[in-house]
Every structure is written in C-alpha cells, then in structure tokens.
C-alpha cells in the first residue's frame, strides 16, 4: 500500500485542544454517581445490612434461637434486650440480624438465577427471531398471565412450602420479566447498523453476539434486575409470612412478622420491627437501583 499523501484539501482532523483524558464508560458512571448523595447514602445502608448479615455471629448479643419462658414479649429496651423479645422470649435484635441473612438470600438468589436463565433465554429469542422467538415469548406470556404474588404462592404452595421450594418459586416468577427485557433489548440491538457492519465483515454469529450484542444488552438487563431485588425481598418475606418460605425456628423477617402478629395487642412496637427491617432493605435497594439507572444512561 502506497502512503496516502494528505493534500491540502483533506483536513487532518485535529481538535486543537490538548489530548484530553478520555474517560471510559464505567468511569463516567462512577463519576456521575459520586455526586448522587441519595444513592450513595442508601448504597451505604445496603452495605451495612449485608455486612451485618454476614457478621451476624459477631454482632448478635444473644443466641437467636434461645427461648425463654420468663422474658416473653418484653418491650424495647428491657434490660439487655435492646429491641425487646418475641413471643418465645428470644432476643429481637439478634433475630433481626440473623434474619437479614435469610431475607437477603431469598431476595438475591432468585434474582441472580433468574437473570442468568431469563437473560440467556431472552437473548436467544431476540437474536434468532422467527419461530424460536415466537415459541419462547408466547410461553413467557403465559407465565405473565399470573400476578406475581399469585404465581409464587401457587408454586410454592402446591410444592409444600419450605425454603428450597420458595427459592424455586421465586426464580420461576422472575424469569419471564427478565426474559422479556433481554429479548426486547436484543431485538433492538440486532437491527442496528453496527451489528450489520459486523455481519458484513464476515464475523461468525457467536462472535457478533459476544462482542457487539451482549455489551449493549447487559446494561438494561442489569438495571432491571437490580430493580427486581426489592420486589424479591418483599415477595420472599411475604411467602415466609404465609408459612410458605423459611420454616421456624429459623429467624426470618417475614416469618417473624407472622408469628408476632398474634401479639400486637401486647407489644405492638416490637411486633412491627421485622416489617421495618424489610421496608428499609427494600427501600434501599429500590433507591440505589434507580440511581444506577440514571447514572448508566449512555446517551447523555
């Protein structure tokens, strides 16, 4: 190849400005987040909750399973029981800290699993199109015909309850929406010019999906999945509340709410505590996922 002679009528495009430090995509996201105080604060809350759950044995003042007939339903601040005791005399604070483990587990595991499974299904459906797409999406539509609470209760209810069944039920509930989001994103990306250009350069399908499609699909899927976490936590606790999730005596916020319900006339504030924990956790995940969504919007 001979050297291109750049004549005067071709401009060597030069900004004139000194070479500015080009920030990558993730760096831009991080930069935007740095000034979003609300998101940062609630992200900190999440970190604290997760840490508390992990370090439960170190933090909890009492054994969460140790019952006591004498100290049943004591109010907040009674002697050493910082948050009171439940109907079997167990320390509320310890049970709340340990309960975080269960609630986080039942919230995060189904969403992660559903993202992987549903996302894969959606990308396949979106990329292949045609009959495969119709088959997959129509099946997903059928599951969509059930309200999520109903579906979760139906599946775990008929399977007999218990934690494992609860996890399975929740995963099945979240696969359809994630599949749909992935399919919509993939279908949109598939028709864009740069994907056609990649096809025009003779790349095999797997390479195109990996290098061009996936990168642009992951963001919307990830954002949607993060917004589902708060729903998952609520739903999981709801299942436990109905007796379909975690089994006693394992501490779990939803289960605690249910067993304490009978005692609201005796110690109303203690009975409301597990629900407060669910609320704060769910709220934090919601706000953080909202903040992430705004920060990750590439167009701006």
């Amino acid at each position: 190849m001979t050297d291109l002679t750049l004549g005067s009528n071709i401009l060597t495009v030069d900004d004139g400005a000194p070479a500015l430090k080009v920030r990558g995509y993730w760096a831009t996201v991080a930069h935007r987040l740095r000034y979003d105080y609300v998101t940062l604060f609630f992200a900190l809350v999440i970190v604290l909750i997760v840490l508390a759950a992990i370090c439960a044995p170190l933090l909890a003042p009492f054994d969460p399973l140790k019952t006591s007939m004498v100290y049943r339903l004591k109010p907040i601040g009674f002697r050493n029981f910082l948050l009171g005791t439940d109907e079997l005399g167990r320390d509320m604070l310890s049970r709340l800290i340990y309960g975080g483990r269960m609630s986080l587990l039942m919230g995060l595991v189904p969403v992660v699993t559903a993202t992987v499974l549903g996302g894969m299904l959606g990308v396949i459906a979106g990329f292949l199109g045609g009959r495969v797409n119709m088959l997959i999406m129509r099946t997903v539509d059928i599951f969509y015909a059930f309200p999520s609470v109903l579906l979760a209760v139906a599946i775990s209810g008929t399977m007999g309850g218990g934690m494992a069944n609860g996890l399975i039920a929740l995963t099945l509930v979240f696969i359809p929406p994630l599949c749909r989001v992935a399919e919509t994103a993939t279908t949109q990306v598939r028709n864009l010019d740069f994907v056609e250009a990649a096809r025009a350069s003779g790349a095999p399908t797997a390479s195109i999906v990996l290098h061009h499609v996936l990168g642009n699909v992951l963001a919307p899927v990830f954002i949607y999945a993060s917004s589902l976490i708060s729903v998952a936590i609520l739903l999981a606790a709801g299942l436990s509340f109905l007796g379909l999730g975690v089994e006693p005596p394992t501490p779990d916020w939803g289960l605690m709410l249910s067993t304490l319900r009978q005692a609201i006339y005796v110690q109303p504030y203690v009975c409301a505590l597990p629900g407060l924990a669910i609320f704060i956790t769910s709220l934090s995940f919601n706000l953080v996922s909202d903040g992430l969504r705004q920060a990750m919007d590439v167009r701006i």
Binding site: A145, P147, V149, V153, I155, S230, L257, I264, C271, A272
Partner: protein, 318 residues
C-alpha cells in the same frame, strides 16, 4: 380496528389455554400423588385404586387434562375437600368480596396519585416533585402486609376506632356499603391495599404527564395564550389513556394478589380462601381459585388493552 380487536381476542385464547395447563399441572407439583392427599395415610391399596378410578387418576395425563378442562368449562370445578361445597360457588362469592376492597383501593389510589402525580409533573425538578417521587418509591418499597399490621396497631390497638379483622357481624352474605357498621371493616384493608398502586400510579402519572408537557404542541398552546390550567387539562387528557391502563392493570394485580392483606385482616376474599386452601391442602379449591384468578387477570389485561387502543389509536401491538 375490529380486525385488531378480533386478533387481540384470538391471541388471548392460547394464553388462556396455557394458563389452564399450568393450573392443571400445579397439582402434580405437589409431593406425593394427588390421591394420597384425599385419603388418610392408612388407607388400603384397594381403596386407593378405587379412588383413583373414581377420580380418573389412572388415565393418561392429557386425557385427565381434557376431562378436567371440559368440566371446568361447564362450571364444575369440583368440590371443596373442607366444606364439601362446589368450588365455583365458593370462589365466586369470595371473588365479590375481593373486588370490593380491590376496587376501593384502586379508586382511592387513583384519586390521590392522579392529583399528586400531575402536580409533580407540572413542577418537575422542584421540591414538590421530589416529595411526590419519594412517596411513590416508599409506596412501592413498603411491604403491604407490614403496613396492614401497622395500621391495625395504630387504629385498632392504640386508637380503637376501627376493627382489626373480619367482615362484620353480618358476614359476607349480607355486606352493604350503606351502613358504617359494615363499611368500617373494609376501611383498613382498602387503605392497605391501596399503598402499592398509589406508588405505581403516581409514578406513571408523573412520567406520562411530564412527557406530554415536554411536547412541542404544549408550547404552541401557551403561545396561543391559553391559561396554564387549560394547558394542563390538555396535557392530562393526552396522558389519560396511559394512566388508565396502568390503573386497570393494578386492579387486576390486586384481585389476583390480595392474599397477604386478606390473611392479615381475615377478609373473606379469594386471597383468604387461597391461604386456607394451602393450609388444609384443599387441592380442588386451590386449583379452582388460581384458575379463576389467573383468567380474570388475562381478561382484565385484554379489556385494558382494547380500551387503550380504542382511546389512543397510536398504540397497536402486534
């Protein structure tokens, strides 16, 4: 337009069939086989065989499905194992109770959410907007079963003005909205149920109205000298189809997903029926209730879809 309507209805049919398949298949998710649930554990093999034949469990599954489907289509959903009453009657009576609080909840949510959401959209970015957005996030994040308990604590335990549970001394057969002595039982469940729809409808309203307000034609209206109130009216009218669609969907969700609230307040709706059926493993009721609720949801979606297309011809999904 009618071709679209027909096509949309036609499209709902395979979905409904799929729903029936799932409902039918749910029974087989249960541990153990269906017959053993009907009999005491020490039943003899002969009894089991006899019952199997009686209920048709010895036949291949697709055949069982069809038979079940045919019976369901004619209104026979079996009889409750607990009360021995026909399932359809139980479920439909419970359904009417659920509809009472669901409808109330959605209307309450809508009226509040509509006003607040529109205000927030009009004053985008200002403090009122942030407050309203905050409320909607809270509404979506709050576990409504917990809220129910909190409300009970506040209004029944502490203040003692509203009853905590049940549907009133007259029972569900004779419920009217006319007398306070009966309506007061419905108040707390309705308020609790309305929390999540409040958050969602408020968010949708804000988004829809804000989007319309950003359109160019709004500037044209202002340039023509229209008062702000009139401009807002026009904008809201454009956003209304979307908002109403969300409202309809939320209603469908509440009817199908009211189990938690009804359990707390022991409100004898379909949700409560479901939770009782789960506890007592009353499979016919479980199956029948899920089937009816899911089909109601499909029907609600269909109606919302068609209404939306009728009002806003731009929206036409394949």
């Amino acid at each position: 337009m009618w071709a679209y309507t027909a096509r949309r209805i036609l499209y709902a049919v395979p979905i409904a069939i799929g729903v029936t398949v799932i409902c039918f298949g749910l029974v087989y998710l249960a541990p153990g086989d269906p017959v053993s649930m009907l009999l005491p554990p020490d039943a003899s093999q002969a009894d089991i065989e006899f019952l199997k034949k009686l209920y048709g469990f010895d036949q291949p599954i697709p055949v069982q499905y069809f038979k079940w489907l045919m019976r369901a289509a004619s209104g026979d959903l079996g009889t409750s194992l607990q009360t021995s009453r026909p399932v359809l009657a139980e479920v439909s009576r419970a359904l009417s109770n659920t509809v009472i609080i669901s409808l109330g909840a959605v209307m309450l949510a809508f009226s509040l959410a509509f006003v607040l959401g529109t205000t927030a959209a009009y004053y985008v970015g200002r403090p009122i907007d942030r407050i309203v957005t905050g409320i909607s996030v809270v509404g979506v994040s709050v576990p409504n079963y917990w809220l129910g308990i909190v409300l009970i604590i506040v209004f029944s335990v502490e203040l003692g003005v509203l009853p905590a549970t049940g549907m009133g001394s007259n029972g569900s057969d004779d419920f009217t909205l006319a007398s306070w002595s009966q309506v007061k039982y419905a108040i707390l469940p309705t308020i609790t149920l309305s929390m999540v729809p409040l958050g969602i409808i408020m968010r949708s309203t804000r988004a829809a109205v804000a989007e319309v307000l950003a359109h160019d034609f709004v500037q044209t209206l202002r340039a023509k000298g229209l008062s702000e109130l009139a401009v807002l009216r026009h904008a809201v009218r454009n956003a209304l189809p979307q908002i109403l669609a969300v409202m309809g969907l939320q209603f469908g969700y509440l009817v199908g997903g009211s189990i938690l609230i009804e359990t707390i307040f022991t409100w004898p709706g379909t949700g409560f029926l479901l939770s009782k059926a789960i506890l007592t493993r009353d499979i016919p009721v479980l199956q029948g209730a899920i089937l009816i609720l899911a089909l109601c949801f499909v029907a609600t979606n269909l109606v919302v879809d068609l209404l939306q297309t009728a009002v806003d011809p731009r929206i036409k999904r394949a």
